[in-house]
């Protein structure tokens, strides 16, 4: 079994009851290769996981599930402020066991024992957070594909 510590960046637009919100998250996920069965487990946001037959399949499913959770939060948010608070709670739902494995995996990357040459490397100390803003002025500069990097 191999653990890969990843930094997870997503920018999503979500429609709620009377509002459109932009959610920009810079989080951490743990990618695990369990003899060809791949899992992605959220650290921040924690409390969700996805699986696939390859790393890219598991990561794609995780991104879909992440969006599905945002949609579920939006479906019952009374207004934008409620949505923003709930998304903040979602992001803060740190998974302590996954965090422990993530930090150990960072140590292995730094020691050269684990690598993922298909990913760029970024400092494991990269700032984490979630920003939820009211979407009022559409602009092409708001478009962002998000990113994924190996924490090192």
């Amino acid at each position: 079994m191999t653990n890969y510590p990843l930094l997870f960046g997503r920018r999503e637009k979500v429609e709620g009851n009377g509002f459109i919100a932009r959610v920009a998250v810079s989080g951490r996920v743990l990618l695990t290769d369990e003899d060809g069965e791949f899992w992605v487990e959220g650290v921040n946001p924690g409390g969700l996981a996805a699986t696939g037959n390859s790393a890219s399949e598991a990561l794609s499913q995780f991104c879909l599930d992440f969006l599905a959770v945002l949609f579920d939060i939006a479906s019952e948010a009374e207004d934008f402020d409620h949505f923003r608070d709930q998304v903040g709670k979602f992001f803060s739902e740190t998974s302590a066991p996954a965090l422990e494995d993530w930090e150990e995996a960072v140590r292995q990357v730094r020691a050269g024992q684990v690598d993922a040459d298909w990913l760029t490397k970024k400092s494991a100390e990269t700032r984490l957070g979630v920003e939820v803003t009211l979407f009022s002025q559409p602009s092409a500069t708001n478009n962002d594909l998000g990113d994924l990097a190996l924490a090192a």
Partner: protein, 66 residues
């Protein structure tokens, strides 16, 4: 298993996923119902294992997942 390892846990069905609330923790993307639909039990077990790990009760859950 929920009754034994996470007493008082509540499953809430949402439009896209099920949430499992236990104490101050939430598992946000349980894909199946409380007992699963058994169409893909391996995926279900994997999700449940990770959920129980998140809740800090994996050792208890392992007794039920054998």
């Amino acid at each position: 298993m929920l009754d034994d390892c996470t007493p008082g846990a509540v499953i809430e069905s949402k439009p896209h996923k099920n949430w499992v609330l236990w104490g101050d923790k939430i598992w946000w993307n349980l894909p199946l119902g409380k007992h699963g639909n058994r169409q893909n039990p391996e995926i279900e077990v994997g999700h449940v294992k990770r959920m129980m790990r998140h809740f800090g009760v994996l050792d208890c859950a392992k007794k039920h997942l054998r």
